[in-house]
């Protein structure tokens, strides 16, 4: 006969109340919330300073009460999630979207360009039982959002920084200048100028640490548009360097396909050049 699991008594030491943190998942790969568990050096400290009150990937604790900080991962893809994001907002003081899915619908927003019914048919033989919104939406389509962390995935150092600022009562600030600046600061050779490779660095937000260029790879835009990116000018330059129109379209239409600046840039060869 199977025995019940041994239930060990809770620690008796009373703790003074700490800010309550909730981690919530919608349509996503789990990578952004994993970033928190990937903070190997800080995780136990974070758990000291905040009460991890809801984090289904890490704990069986049920969803109850309110949250000082809510971290939201994933895009809103069905009606259940639509109700859930409203509920999270109602429970939370400061709501942070983690990554491209929560802020822009993510890579799965590539399906927004086609009829979802047709796409479902590609994956499922009988699509009648699959309930899916027509598009993959960001959280901000339904509720006010206090902060959006960029990236696919986010940078875990930025996440820790945001938590630290928030706990100190300050409003966190996220730099959104072009990745190009970061790359120059690191003294990396420009792959666009020196090698003519199709790099999205001039139009993409900083935050990753310019990893790709340090690995001899042009930026492929996984942190989304920088502030005032002038992405269309970059698209035109890439065309001059010989990139095919369809390759340029795909380059701007991957991780941040719904971002207006990237959409515009992806269409410069449709005869709608701006």
């Amino acid at each position: 006969m199977i025995q019940p699991l041994p239930i060990i008594a809770e620690p008796s030491k009373p703790r003074k109340p700490r800010p309550r943190l909730g981690v919530f998942k919608f349509a996503s790969c789990d990578g952004c919330q994993l970033s928190l568990l990937d903070c190997e050096d800080q995780l136990l400290d974070v758990a000291e300073k905040v009460e991890i009150a809801f984090f289904r990937e890490a704990t069986r604790r049920p969803l109850e009460g309110t949250f000082d900080v809510a971290l939201v991962e994933g895009s809103i893809s069905n009606s259940e999630q639509e109700a859930a994001i409203r509920d999270v907002r109602a429970r939370s003081r400061f709501l942070v979207c983690l990554g491209a899915c929560a802020s822009h619908g993510g890579i799965q927003a590539l399906r927004n360009q086609s009829k979802s019914e047709e796409l479902i048919r590609i994956v499922y033989a009988d699509p009648s039982t699959i309930e899916l919104l027509d598009q993959s939406h960001p959280a901000s389509a339904y509720v006010p959002v206090d902060l959006e962390l960029p990236g696919c995935p986010i940078n875990k150092d930025q996440l820790i920084e945001v938590l630290a600022w928030t706990l100190a009562g300050a409003r966190p600030m996220i730099h959104r200048h072009a990745l190009c600046l970061e790359c120059k600061r690191r003294g990396l050779v420009c792959v666009l100028v020196a090698r003519g490779e199709p790099c999205l660095g001039p139009a993409t937000s900083t935050g990753c640490g310019a990893i790709c260029m340090s690995y001899d790879r042009p930026c492929f835009g996984c942190y989304g548009p920088a502030e005032k990116p002038n992405a269309s000018a970059l698209a035109a330059r890439l065309a001059e360097l010989g990139a095919a129109p369809d390759a340029i379209r795909r380059l701007f239409q991957t991780f941040y396909a719904t971002a207006p600046d990237f959409q515009k840039a992806s269409r410069i060869h449709d005869g709608t050049r701006v």
Binding site: M1, L5, A47, R56, T59, R60, R111, V123, R250
Partner: protein, 443 residues
């Protein structure tokens, strides 16, 4: 979670064990088990993770994009997706990147096995064995647990350090490409990693001993384990597909022997064996059972010292197989670093042509199948991805059918928790397997 009971004689008592939301798994799922008179009437593993339709929007994308796009299916095992995608497309194009690229890919995979297994063993699975809601709750309970958590974070960090160096970052690495890598490390970059891995090896040895001593429920079952088998190495990127039941096929014959089926009363795609339609078991336990002789001597010795008889058919002991594989992956990474010679070119060239190719690699959770069709210009016209959790799903449900009657006498919460543990034995990754779901047993 709740258990509802109705009055009456024990023969006709109906109970429902309901787990509203599975915790400590990757992704969103729920379980309903209905029992009548001690018999399971219905098991539903409902995954409410929303479909993301990768196979659909991969159509029309460039073949070179497949490793970056499919990585986004899973933040826990992106390397697995990158490996299966690269190999499948290289197979289509008839490209072979050579031994030095192979060694680097294997080293990268070691990193992912270490970080993914360390996460599951201590953060997702171990708390069950102590009745704790989470690893952090365990840490707060006893100083020895807190040390265990710190040690496993150090292990995870060592695995992540490998992925970060070879891949550029831990989650969704940027350095993998068709034919190889964008940049390969200089030997001097690998040296500090060897030091970190040596320290991690002590922790892994100790971890095997610790999980080997956990209290396991008696639950030996007759399984058909399926895994890759390589002529000389513990399987990761290559080999033939073999099973306990005597299967021995080339990996591109996978679809001749296994299929994804849609069950009429549900929206699930489940993998079954074509012959007989039965369930099968993939993952660390399957790998170890079928490849014990391919482990290097230290992990093999550590596995034997736990006192567990290998091959092992108790799924609760999957946690031990994961710990042994951590030790193996560290050992193997150290061997690969010691023997490292940079490839002459970071990648071999991959010229597009109309073709189709499929491949299987061993993701942390088991075999991951990719198949692509490519047009003459290098665009993907069709993609088929079958993650390990889709393959284990039927087996998880069958385990629940057999297991649930034995927890009937427990308090509602305890019964539900025990059933959750059965699911977590498989380290299911629901983000990967959005075609997961519901099936019904009529007694």
């Amino acid at each position: 979670m709740t258990v509802q009971g109705s009055d009456g004689e024990s023969r006709s008592t109906t109970r429902t064990i309901q787990i509203d939301a599975l915790a400590r798994v990757e992704g969103e799922g729920a379980v309903t088990i209905e029992l009548k008179g001690g018999r399971v009437e219905d098991v539903r593993l409902r995954i409410f993770e929303a479909p993301r339709l990768f196979e659909a929007f991969l159509r029309g994308r460039g073949m070179a994009e497949a490793p970056d796009i499919t990585a986004r299916i899973c933040g826990i095992c992106p390397v697995a997706y990158q490996m299966s995608a690269c190999h499948a497309i290289e197979a289509a194009l008839g490209v072979e990147p050579g031994d030095r690229i192979r060694a680097l890919r294997r080293l990268l995979y070691c990193g992912e096995w270490i970080e993914s297994h360390a996460l599951h063993v201590v953060f997702l699975h171990a708390p069950d064995f102590f009745g704790c809601e989470s690893a952090l709750a365990m840490a707060a309970l006893r100083p020895e647990f807190a040390q265990r958590i710190r040690d496993s974070l150090a292990l995870k960090k060592a695995g992540n350090a490998l992925v970060r160096l070879l891949g550029g970052r831990e989650i969704h690495p940027i350095n993998v490409r068709l034919g190889g890598f964008h940049r390969v490390p200089r030997p001097v970059e690998l040296a500090p990693l060897a030091e970190e891995l040596k320290a991690a090896r002590d922790l892994a040895r100790d971890l095997v001993k610790w999980v080997g001593g956990l209290d396991f429920p008696d639950f030996e079952q007759d399984y058909d384990f399926v895994a890759l088998r390589h002529p000389s190495d513990y399987p990761m990127n290559e080999g033939r597909l073999i099973s306990t039941g005597g299967l021995d096929i080339a990996m591109d014959e996978f679809l001749d022997h296994f299929e994804e089926r849609q069950v009429p009363y549900s929206n699930a795609l489940q993998c079954r064996k074509r012959a007989g339609g039965g369930a099968y078991f993939v993952g660390p336990l399957a790998r170890m059972n079928l490849n014990f002789d391919r482990l290097s001597s230290e992990p093999r010795q550590a596995a034997l010292e736990t006192g567990i008889a290998w091959p092992c058919s108790n799924p609760f002991m999957g946690i031990v197989a994961r710990a042994v594989e951590i030790l193996y992956a560290i050992d193997e990474a150290l061997r690969l670093i010691g023997a490292y010679e940079p490839p002459e070119e970071p990648a071999v060239s991959c010229e597009p042509r109309a073709s189709a190719g499929s491949w299987i690699t061993e993701a942390p959770r088991g075999i991951l199948f990719h198949r692509y069709e490519i047009d003459p210009g290098g665009l993907i016209t069709r993609a088929n991805l079958i993650p390990p959790t889709s393959q284990n799903q039927r087996q998880i449900e069958e385990d629940l059918i057999r297991f649930a009657p034995s927890v009937l006498d427990l308090e509602p919460d305890a019964a539900a928790w025990r059933c959750e543990q059965v699911v977590r034995n498989y380290d299911p990754c629901i983000s990967c397997a959005t075609h997961f779901v519901r099936f019904k047993v009529v007694s």
